[in-house]
Amino acid sequence: MSHATDESTQIQDPDQPTDSDQVREIGHDEFDPVGALALIGLYFLILVFLWFFMYFVEFLGNDPTVVSGIVSVVTGGVGLA
């Protein structure tokens, strides 16, 4: 059943460029994923910002809430404003 026994080395050939556009080889130690960090960091900031945004617009802005007790005190002011 096993047709590919002798091709095993090709299955995962790390040095084979997948695209002819590769201009350099970057190994494990030279690679510093600052770009990924920047992007994910940005995403995280947006997420946190949207979370706060949601809280004010949708939660405090709409009248009946589940945890009515404490929050309604706060909402009273905001809601009337």
């Binding site: 096993s2 090709q10 790390p14 997948t18 556009d21 970057i26 690679f31």
Partner: protein, 598 residues
């Protein structure tokens, strides 16, 4: 002579092809119903009777999230196992066997659903993909689902067999990453499907056959969501697998970290199931405390997704930098955007990031009340399963089709247009759905308009939202047409000798850096089972206690003198046998796995 998948594994390539074509057929059907209901509920074009809306919606849901996704993923899982272990399946007849079982099963289910359109038979199954009681379907519907799921179980057995055989020959090697992902996903799936199996076999099927008079709707619903949340990961984990093992290669780089990828899949195995109750925040009859536990588990589930985001983006960045990319964000320009496989997966990932936000809203117990059962939820899951998964699957199709057919892709440009069009269409549709949900527009409604009441939009108007949804739906449908044109065009191409090799991404940090314990599937399965028992024992117990195993009417059975106490005794007995079953299952699984590890 090329070295594509079909050259290495011609027989397996046939099975995968069959699975793909079944998947695409379901996608086509589901897409047709999708545009019908979009135009219907926005009021643009209503040619079906609103009474048939549920039949349309059931077909859309079941064909897309059961047949399209699962047929596709069994295809890529078969690819992953054979390629990464470098061996064919153990017994080809068995492989065709589970494929056949799945095909027969979903055909029965599909026939039962579609029969709802005609009065010629009294067969119908307009119960939506959640089949909540008291909605009742013809027995064919449930029977078909059971066969389909059993087919996937056998598929898992097939892959475990391959692994066991490989392990016997390579006792000291780490499980290759793609195989590891398949095995952990299937373990999760086995645990998860116990829920639907119980719901269908013990309650819904006998009830639909008239063997039992009634069911406890909250019980079957809870058992459904026991399965319903992890099924989400059953769709998502194959998409993640593509992002981990294919995307880095397509980007021109390597996977940033093999150990992190393993950690992510282990976390999914452990945490997927004990969260299902987060779909039931609004169900009366489940105590707040249980819902709170489900919420906590859900928040923990964000972790593997964030880890995935980082690892995947870092791998893309590695590719971009090898292609000459520079700067903090400038490297983004060096990515191969012209390649539809890459562009599709990247856009799918981007939409998934947006879905992360609406998901956070859904997951919060009190914020959920705001959006529960509104159109918001539909907007959310068209970003997740409808794009992160579906668009990833369509994008990788452009890589897989040549591999399993041995034919060149019909058109890369059309393919690029297709994935971009999906992104744009989904932007319009999903955005307006979210927005409509915030106004309180309900989901699952043929005519969401009411006499003497109007939804008030904060920005623009409801009519504008409807227009946006219809526009999005039309663009998505066009995108599907382009997709099928490519699939058919490729199938009509001649055999090519000039295909890329079958391979997947190498790693920057390989399995040798991953602690050995990560490969201990026994351990993780056991932990997963324990967590499930923790999360579900008491909720199930109290649901049965209050509503009866088969609904309140049970009191009238021969045991009519039953008082509340003996009901709870009965409930306890059932509960204990359930736990025992779970434990035995775990033991069996452990024993089976232990059997192969000397």
């Amino acid at each position: 002579m090329s070295n594509a998948y079909i050259d290495q594994f011609p027989a397996e390539a046939k099975v995968i092809r069959a699975a793909f074509y079944s998947s695409f057929f379901a996608l086509a059907l589901g897409g047709v119903f999708g545009i019908i209901q979009t135009l219907h509920r926005t009021g643009y074009y209503r040619f079906i009777d609103s009474a048939d809306y549920y039949t349309v919606l059931t077909a859309h849901g079941v064909f897309l999230v059961i047949s399209f996704t699962i047929f596709f993923l069994v295809g890529i899982f078969t690819w992953a196992i054979t390629t990464s272990l470098d061996r064919g399946v153990e017994d080809l007849r068995f492989t065709w066997g589970w494929y056949g079982l799945m095909a027969v099963g979903i055909t029965l289910t599909g026939v039962a659903i579609l029969a709802g359109f005609t009065d010629a038979t009294d067969i119908s199954a307009s119960v939506l993909f959640t089949f909540y009681a008291p909605l009742q379907a013809h027995p064919l519907f449930y029977l078909g689902l059971v066969l389909f799921v059993v087919g996937t179980w056998f598929a898992g057995v097939d892959w475990f067999r391959s692994w066991w055989a490989w392990k016997a020959e390579n006792p000291d090697e780490r499980i290759p990453l793609p195989a590891f992902m398949v095995l952990t996903t299937m373990l999760m799936w086995y645990i998860a499907t116990l829920g639907v199996a119980a719901a269908i076999l013990l309650f819904l099927l006998p009830w639909s056959l008239g063997l039992i008079e009634s069911v406890n709707p909250l019980l079957t619903r809870t058992l459904f969501w026991f399965f319903g949340h992890p099924v989400v990961y059953f769709w998502l984990m194959p998409a993640y697998m593509m992002w981990y093992v294919l995307l880095p290669k397509i980007s021109g780089g390597k996977l940033f970290s093999d150990p992190l990828a393993r950690v992510v899949f282990v976390l999914f195995l452990i945490l997927s199931v004990p969260t299902g109750i987060h779909h039931q925040y609004l169900d009366p009859g489940i105590a707040e405390g249980f819902k709170f536990i489900a919420m906590t588990n859900t928040m923990f589930l964000l972790l593997p997704s964030l880890l995935t985001a980082f690892t995947v983006v870092a791998s893309m960045e590695h590719g971009a930098r090898q292609r000459g990319g520079e700067g903090y964000l400038g490297w983004l320009k060096a990515l191969p955007w012209r390649d539809p496989v890459f562009a599709g997966m990247a856009l799918a990932g981007l939409m998934f990031a947006a879905a992360g936000f609406s998901g956070m809203i859904n997951a919060g117990m009190n914020i959920n009340y705001l959006v529960h059962n509104t159109f918001w939820v539909v907007g959310h899951f068209h970003l997740t399963v409808g794009t992160a998964v579906a668009l990833t699957f369509m994008a990788v199709t452009y890589w897989f089709l040549p591999q399993v057919t041995g034919k060149q892709l019909w058109s890369r440009s059309v393919a690029l247009g297709q994935v971009v069009l999906w992104f744009v269409g989904m932007t319009f549709m999903s955005n307006a759905m979210h927005r409509g949900g915030l106004l309180g527009i309900p989901r699952r409604t043929a005519e969401p308009q009411y006499d003497g009441f109007e939804f008030e939009a904060a920005v623009g108007s409801v009519a504008e939202l409807d227009a946006q949804i219809a526009l999005g739906g039309v663009l998505l449908t066009l995108s599907l047409v382009l997709f099928f044109a490519n699939v058919v065009g490729t199938a009509l191409n001649g055999r090519s000798d000039d295909l890329p090799d079958n391979s997947y991404a190498g790693t920057l940090s390989g399995p040798e850096d991953a602690p050995q314990i990560l490969d201990n599937l026994k351990l993780w399965t056991a932990i997963a089972v324990v967590l499930v028992i923790f999360a579900y024992t008491f909720p199930l117990l109290s649901i049965i206690d209050r509503g009866g195993l088969f609904g309140p009417e049970l009191v009238e059975l021969p045991l009519s003198t039953l008082d509340l106490e003996s009901i709870s005794a009965l409930a306890l007995a059932v509960e204990q046998s359930t736990i025992a079953t779970l434990e035995t299952t775990a033991d069996t699984a452990t024993a089976v796995i232990a059997g192969v590890i000397p």
